[in-house]
Amino acid sequence: MNIQLSEELISLFNDATAFKALATIDGESTPNVVTGRLFRISEEGNILYLEHLESSRTNHNLVGALWFERQVSIAVQGRRGENYQIKGRPVKVHITGTLFQKYYIESRAILGEVDLSGVWVIEPTEVIDESPLKRQAEEEQARPFFRHLDRFCKSDN
């Protein structure tokens, strides 16, 4: 089931300085991660990923994900420590048409002498707040056994 992205996440995707990574797998579940790519958010709230290389492993994996209903994962990290993982399903790729041409022109304006293979539409299915302190607090609350004993000691022990 797809979900709505928060305003904070949308801002992070639109922030050119935020770190973003896209992880995909191939048919043998071999992982592949790329960083430094362009993402946008569509009017419908989906993630748009701009793939510039037709022959890239990521592009092949995204085609495979759409064909065989595999998920992908996107990590986003902001300058103030925001840290999220979004899981999603590639549901469509624009390889032609108005939207494609818009991002073709925009990509070349930003990156220079590049081409555009497709504008991938990724429907978010899950958002996980991966901020380390928040994740630790959640784990200590929900799984209290997952700590070493020395962390329970009195401070003067």
């Binding site: 092949h60 085609v63 064909w67 065989f68 549901v91 390889i95 032609t96 048409g97 041409q101 073709y104």
Partner: protein, 416 residues
Amino acid sequence: MNVALKRVHERESTLSDVVSKYPDVPRLIILKIDVQRRGVHYTRRALDGLDPAVHQLRSAIWCSRDGIYTDTNVPESLLLRDGTSIVVESVSTDKEPYLVDLVDGRPALIDGDEVIEFVEFWEKPRYYDLVTSSGIPMKDVISARPQRLSILLSTVCHFGKNSCLYCEIHNNNKTKGRPVRPKLRMEDVSEVVREALREEGRFCTFCITGGSILKGQEVFDREVDLYIELLQAIGEHFGSRKFPSQLVASAYSEKQLRRLYDTTGLMSYTCDLEVLDPEKFRWICPGKAEAVGGYEVWKQRVIRAVDIFGRGNVSSGIVGGVELATPYGFTTEEEALEATLAEAESLARHGVPAFFVVWVPRPNSPFRDQKSPSLDYYVRLTRGLERIKAAYGITTDFDDYRRCGNHPDTDLSRIR
């Protein structure tokens, strides 16, 4: 009765049967094949949903609806959400086609009561609204696919009465009252290319083809001359010596191929063997068989082209399924598949990939009353041809899902 006429069509597997049977083949590609096989029928509502300002409609020159040539405008073709094109004909409802109707305001493929998949109509390029300085609508000079410019050099084929039996060019040209495109002028081509290239990100290749022209000192010399003239007119717009392009043409001699390669920006060459069996070729493509000395000569000419254009830049197309035409075709799908794949592998050994289009018996062709093979057959053909290409490490970048969109087997190459 001839034994070959007894080929019985068993109860055909449905789309969902075949999708379940071949989990390694994407459902969208199987759907594409089935839609091409069965055709589509656009409901009135779907046609009312067309926006001529946005969507690419068939030109009166190329248009057919329900198997009858007409000037009724219908969508050029369809696009699936994975970027796969479905180049498909509109047919009458008695052929049990998929319906294209509007569902929640969006065009969708319908089978029975089931919504199978949402689709999109192709968007037209900007030049489609323009006219050349000589007064010809630009869309009648060069037609478009989602990312390709298509140029038909000649609508006449010199094979005439000896034309391929699945082809309707010869009969169409005899049909009175049918709109005919004016002779192609290089000035018009150049003007349309200039205009088309102004639209950034719209096109990534040219596909050039036409009927065979037998004239010349050596057979096909005149055809080669005309293609050179055309390619040079296109080449004026590029700063590089070569530009992404494909020529689908007759089987040229090495001398002709060399001339073509050396004097133009052409990057790839396709020469269609049409049916991968010498006997069937002689029956189905009599003009081709006679022109240069039979199947083996056509085959050797395609293979020799690799020496000039390079591996991965030469191919041969087949009309997938026509090998099962009656009365002289293969009598079983098993036999047809085995023979076709074996011959495709023999081409691949020399660096030539074979790829197919789905045979749809055309209403004005000698094979008009025949029936395409089963969906199951086409899926096995798709998978078999792609496996051969993969095994021999042959790419088909010049004729893939984006640069052509009419070959289910090269659609599969996207993940390779």
